[in-house]
C-alpha cells in the first residue's frame, strides 16, 4: 500500500452531543486509499453516529451539527446532505435496505442515475421525458456486479430476492458510482449466509486493490480480522483502540469492546434467589414477527422474584420477546404465567394478568406526551385496575380521584427523583432520562407481578441510568416482583440481573449467571448472529 500520499480521509477531534448527551468524544482517525478499516463496538458506542456525520445525514444537522473537522484528500469538507457526500465519492450501505421492491436489480442499481436517450419531446417538456436507455442500464449494472465479484441476477425483482442478494444489490449500486472512493458498509454481513459473507469479504479485498477505501462495521470479529488492515474499537463514544489488524485477536477486540477490566464484578452478592425458586413464567416455542427483531423458537423459564436479563446485539430479536408476549407484535407459541395460559396477541389479557411493560419506544408507546405527569402515571392503573377512581351509585358512575392521583404521582416523583416543575407538567417537556422514570412510575403504579423492562437506559445520561437501575432493583426487592429486563448494554445487565439470557439470531444462545465472564457473554452474542 502506498503510504507516501496524504490520507484519503482524516477525522480530527470529532465531537457530537444530542441535547447535552455526549455521544462522541474527540474521535481522531485516518484512512488511506485502498485501506480497509474495521470498526467495531457495542450498540450505542457511537459507530453509527460517526458514520452519519461522515455521510452528512440530515439528523446530525438538525440536532446542532458536530464538532471537529473532516478532511477528504487533505481538503476540509462538511457535508450538509448525503448527496454532497456521494458527490465527493463517499458511498454508504445502510443496515436498512434502500431498495424499490417492485424494481429489478438493474433498476435499483441505477436508481435515479439511469442513462437516458434523448428525444424531441424532452426538448419541449424537459429532460425527465427522456426515455431510459435499457441496453446501457443493463451494461452498467453488469459492470458494477462484475466489479463487486459476487454473481447476482440483475433481472430479478427485489421482492423475490433472498435477503443477501438485496444487500449485494445495494453494494453494486454504490460500486456503479464512478466517483466512489470510500465505501461505508454498516453491518453488511448481518443478513448474509456464511458463503455470501465469504464472497463479500473477497469483494472487499477486490475493492481495496482497486484503491477504494472501505469502512467495515460488523459484529463478526473474525471477518474484521480476515479482511481489514486496521481495526478501530469504539466504546461509549470514545475511540479506545486503533491498531493494525495483525496485532489484534478476537479476544483482545472483545475485551476492548466491552471494556473496563470488569473481571468478576458483580453487585449481586447479597441477592438470594435460590436455584429452586418456582418458575413463574414459562415461554414455550415463541415466535414474534417484529420487523428487525424477529424471534424464532424461544423457550425460556423465569423464576419467581428474579431479575432476568435478556441481552444480545441489536436486531437479533431480544426486543421482540417482550413486545411479542405483550401483544404489540404478532406472535405465536405458548406462554404460561403461574400455570395459566396467557393468550398472545391480546395486550389486555397480559395487563389483566398483572403484567406491566416499560417499552423501549417511550415517546411512541410509553407516554402520553401532551398530558400531565399525573395522567401518565395513573392512566394505565385507572384504565386496567380501576384504581384511583371514586365510585358513586354503586359503581354506576366512576369519577377520577384527583387527590389520590396527585399523591401517587408525587410519591414517585420523590422516589425516582424525577426533575419536573410539578405533577401537572406535560411529559413532553421532560428530558429523556426523566421521561424514562415516568415510564417506570407508570408501571410501578400498576403494582404488577411481572414487569418487562425494555432498554430502560437507552438514550439517557449516566446519572439517570444509575437511578433507573437502582429503582428497578429496589422495586424488585421490596415488592418481590419478577422482572425481565431487556438491554443492549451487557454491563448494565450484569450489574442488575441475576441471570442473563443472550439472544442471537432470534434464538436463545445461552443463559449465564450475571457473574460469568465478559468473554463468555461475547461468545454467546456472536454465536448464531444472522
Amino acid at each position: 500500500m502506498d503510504t507516501v500520499n496524504a490520507p484519503l480521509l482524516k477525522l480530527q477531534g470529532i465531537k457530537k452531543d444530542f441535547f447535552g448527551n455526549q455521544v462522541l468524544t474527540d474521535i481522531n482517525l485516518e484512512l488511506r486509499a485502498g485501506e480497509v478499516l474495521g470498526l467495531c463496538g457495542e450498540n450505542g458506542a457511537g459507530k453509527s453516529t460517526l458514520m452519519k456525520i461522515l455521510f452528512g445525514a440530515a439528523d446530525i444537522a438538525e440536532t446542532g451539527g458536530y464538532g471537529g473537522d473532516i478532511f477528504l484528500d487533505g481538503e476540509k469538507v462538511s457535508f450538509s446532505s448525503p448527496f454532497e457526500a456521494i458527490a465527493a465519492g463517499i458511498g454508504m450501505v445502510h443496515q436498512e435496505f434502500s431498495l424499490i421492491p417492485g424494481f429489478d436489480a438493474t433498476e435499483n442499481i441505477l436508481l435515479n442515475r439511469e442513462p437516458e436517450k434523448y428525444n424531441f419531446i424532452s426538448e419541449i417538456f424537459g429532460k425527465r421525458l427522456n426515455t431510459l436507455d435499457r441496453a446501457e442500464m443493463d451494461k452498467r449494472a453488469k459492470e458494477s456486479i462484475e466489479k463487486m465479484g459476487v454473481a447476482i441476477d440483475r433481472h430479478m425483482m427485489i421482492n423475490t430476492m433472498p435477503v443477501g442478494h438485496k444487500q449485494f444489490t445495494e453494494i453494486a449500486r454504490e460500486l456503479s458510482k464512478e466517483q466512489l472512493r470510500l465505501l461505508i458498509l454498516d453491518e453488511p454481513t448481518a443478513v448474509l449466509t456464511e458463503k455470501e459473507a465469504e464472497a463479500l469479504l473477497d469483494s472487499i479485498r477486490g475493492m481495496s486493490e482497486r484503491g477504494i477505501s472501505v469502512i467495515f462495521i460488523t459484529h463478526r470479529l473474525q471477518e474484521i480480522l480476515s479482511v481489514c488492515n486496521t481495526v478501530a474499537v469504539m466504546r461509549d463514544g470514545v475511540l479506545v483502540e486503533c491498531e493494525k489488524a495483525e496485532n489484534m485477536t478476537v479476544a483482545s477486540i472483545t475485551k476492548s469492546m466491552v471494556g473496563r477490566s470488569v473481571e468478576g464484578r458483580t453487585n449481586n452478592a447479597a441477592r438470594t434467589i435460590s436455584e429452586d425458586a418456582p418458575t413463574v413464567l414459562k415461554i414455550d416455542k415463541l415466535w414474534v414477527d417484529m420487523p428487525g427483531e424477529t424471534v424464532r423458537n424461544v423457550s425460556l423459564e423465569v423464576k419467581k422474584g428474579e431479575i432476568l436479563g435478556i441481552g444480545g446485539l441489536a436486531g437479533q430479536g431480544k426486543l421482540g420477546i417482550p413486545n411479542g408476549i405483550m401483544g404489540l407484535y404478532e406472535a405465536g407459541g405458548n406462554v404460561e404465567f403461574e400455570g395459566k395460559i396467557i393468550p398472545l396477541n391480546n395486550p389486555r389479557a397480559c395487563l389483566d394478568s398483572s403484567f406491566a411493560f416499560v417499552s423501549e419506544d417511550r415517546r411512541g408507546v410509553g407516554l402520553l406526551l401532551d398530558e400531565s405527569l399525573e395522567w401518565n402515571v395513573a392512566f394505565p392503573a385507572m384504565q386496567i385496575q380501576n384504581k384511583f377512581l371514586k365510585k358513586y351509585l354503586g359503581g354506576l358512575i366512576k369519577w377520577r380521584d384527583e387527590k389520590a392521583i396527585r399523591d401517587v404521582t408525587g410519591k414517585y416523583i420523590d422516589e425516582l427523583k424525577i426533575k419536573c416543575t410539578g405533577t401537572k407538567q406535560n411529559a413532553r417537556e421532560l428530558s429523556g432520562g426523566n421521561q424514562q422514570k415516568v415510564c417506570l412510575a407508570k408501571a410501578f403504579a400498576l403494582e404488577p407481578q411481572l414487569l418487562f423492562v425494555s432498554e430502560p437506559t437507552r438514550g439517557i445520561d449516566v446519572g439517570a441510568k444509575a437511578l433507573v437501575l437502582d429503582a428497578l432493583r429496589k422495586f424488585n426487592a421490596e415488592s418481590g416482583v419478577t422482572v425481565v429486563m431487556v438491554s443492549s448494554e451487557l454491563e448494565e445487565l450484569r450489574a442488575t440481573c441475576d441471570r442473563i439470557a443472550i439472544v442471537s439470531g432470534g434464538r436463545i444462545s445461552g443463559i449465564l449467571p450475571a457473574a460469568a465472564s465478559v468473554e463468555d457473554f461475547g461468545t454467546l452474542m456472536l454465536k448464531d448472529v444472522v
Binding site: 434502500s98 424499490i100 433498476e107 436508481l111 435515479n112 426515455t131 431510459l132 415466535w287 423458537n297
Partner: protein
C-alpha cells in the same frame, strides 16, 4: 420478471363477478346483439379516454384519483365558452381543449400540493377536494358567467341574465369527432377517429412508462423514502402525476361531452369520477395496480351492465327505476369492495410473514425430533 405467472384470483374476482352479472342480464334485457354491440362501442369511445387519465396517479402510488372531476370541470368551462363564441365542430373542440389545459394544470398543481400534505390519504382527500372545487365551479358558472365573464347568447344563459342554464346544447359538436372517418360494419358504427385518439393515448402511456419521469413515478409509488434517498424529487413528481391526470381528464371530458351532445352544467362532472373509477376497478385494477387492459375490460363490462341492467330490471320487476337504482348502487359497491380488498391484501401480506415464521419453526422442530 415472471412474477405475473401466478394467476391472482382475488384480483380477478371482480371482473368474473361482472361477467356473470352481464351473462344473466343480457338475455333478460331482450336487446338484439347488434344494438348491444352498438351501445358498447359507443360507450367505449365515450369513456375510455377518461378512464385512461386515472392510470398515471395509480402508477405514482397516489391511488384512485377522485380529483379527476377537477379536469372535467375545466373542460366544461372551456366548452361553455367555446359554445358561446360559436366555434363549431372539431375546431371548437380543439379550442376547448386548448382552453381547458391551463385551467386543468392550475387545478392539478393545487390538488397535487394538497395531496402532498395528505400522504397516505390521497383518495379521501381528492374526493373531498372534488366537492370543494365543485363549489368554486358553481360560483363561476352560476354567478360569474354573464356578470364578469361575458356570455352573449341567451340560449345558454339563464333567463335572469347571468348564470348558465341547466343544460347547454352541444349540437354543433355532437359526435363530430365520432362521425369523422366512422365506418359501419354490419350495422355497428365504429368511431374510428375517436378510437385512433384513444389508441394514441395508450401508446403515449406505454411510452411514458419508459421515460425517466415514468420510472421516477413508479419508484415514488412504491417507496417514497427510498426514492427520496436516491435524490428523486418526490413531491414534484407526485404533483406532476396529478397534473397529467387532471389534464387528461379534461381532454377525456371533451370527448365524452361531444358524444353526449349536451352538457348537464351542474351534474355532468359529479358522477364522472365515480363511474370511471368503478369501471376501472371492474376491469380488475386495484388501488395500487392498473393497466391499459384493465381500462378496456372495465369499460366493456361496466357499461354492458349499465346498458342491460335497467332493461333486465324492467323485465323482472316491471319497473325500469330498479335497474337505474341497481347500476348506481353497483358502482358504489364495486369501489367499496375494491378498497376493502386493498386493505385486507395489505394485512394478509403482513400476517403471511408471521405464518412463514411459525412454519419455519415447526419444520425445524420436526427436523429436530426426527434426529
Amino acid at each position: 420478471m415472471n412474477n405475473k405467472k401466478k394467476f391472482d384470483f382475488r384480483q380477478a374476482s371482480v371482473p368474473v363477478m361482472f361477467i356473470i352479472i352481464c351473462a344473466i342480464c343480457i338475455p333478460l334485457s331482450g336487446l338484439s346483439p347488434k344494438m348491444l354491440i352498438n351501445e358498447i362501442v359507443t360507450r367505449m369511445g365515450r369513456n375510455s379516454f377518461l378512464i385512461l387519465s386515472l392510470l398515471i396517479p395509480i402508477m405514482a402510488g397516489m391511488g384512485l384519483n377522485f380529483g379527476m372531476t377537477l379536469g372535467a370541470m375545466a373542460a366544461e368551462i372551456a366548452l361553455i365558452l367555446v359554445c358561446d363564441w360559436q366555434i363549431v365542430s372539431v375546431p371548437g373542440m380543439i379550442l376547448a381543449a386548448i382552453i381547458s389545459v391551463p385551467i386543468s394544470v392550475l387545478l392539478g398543481i393545487f390538488c397535487g400540493n394538497i395531496l402532498n400534505r395528505a400522504k397516505g390519504r390521497e383518495m379521501i382527500t381528492s374526493y373531498i377536494m372534488s366537492f370543494f372545487v365543485n363549489g368554486i365551479y358553481q360560483l363561476i358558472v352560476l354567478y360569474l358567467m354573464g356578470k364578469v365573464i361575458p356570455i352573449k347568447h341567451s340560449s345558454i344563459k339563464l333567463p335572469r341574465g347571468y348564470g348558465i342554464r341547466n343544460t347547454v346544447s352541444l349540437l354543433s359538436m355532437r359526435q363530430k369527432l365520432d362521425n369523422m372517418l366512422a365506418i359501419n360494419i354490419a350495422g355497428v358504427k365504429i368511431p374510428v377517429l375517436t378510437f385512433i385518439i384513444i389508441a394514441i393515448m395508450c401508446l403515449i402511456i406505454v411510452w411514458f412508462r419508459k421515460t425517466k419521469l415514468g420510472q421516477d413515478m413508479r419508484a415514488v409509488g412504491q417507496d417514497m423514502e427510498v426514492a427520496r434517498d436516491a435524490g428523486i424529487e418526490v413531491e414534484k413528481t407526485r404533483i406532476i402525476s396529478i397534473v397529467i391526470s387532471t389534464v387528461l381528464a379534461g381532454l377525456g371530458m371533451i370527448i365524452y361531452l361531444q358524444n353526449m351532445g349536451n352538457i348537464a352544467t351542474y351534474t355532468a362532472h359529479s358522477q364522472i369520477g365515480m363511474f370511471c373509477i368503478a369501471a376501472l376497478l371492474v376491469g380488475g385494477a386495484s388501488v395500487d395496480k392498473a393497466s391499459i387492459g384493465n381500462v378496456f375490460l372495465g369499460v366493456v363490462l361496466f357499461h354492458t351492465m349499465f346498458i342491460v341492467a335497467p332493461r333486465a330490471g324492467a323485465y323482472i320487476t316491471g319497473d325500469s327505476m330498479i335497474g337505474e337504482y341497481f347500476r348506481v348502487f353497483v358502482s358504489y359497491a364495486v369501489i367499496t369492495v375494491a378498497l376493502i380488498m386493498y386493505e385486507t391484501n395489505k394485512r394478509k401480506a403482513k400476517s403471511a410473514a408471521s405464518m412463514e415464521l411459525a412454519a419455519a419453526q415447526d419444520s425445524e422442530d420436526s427436523k429436530k425430533s426426527a434426529d
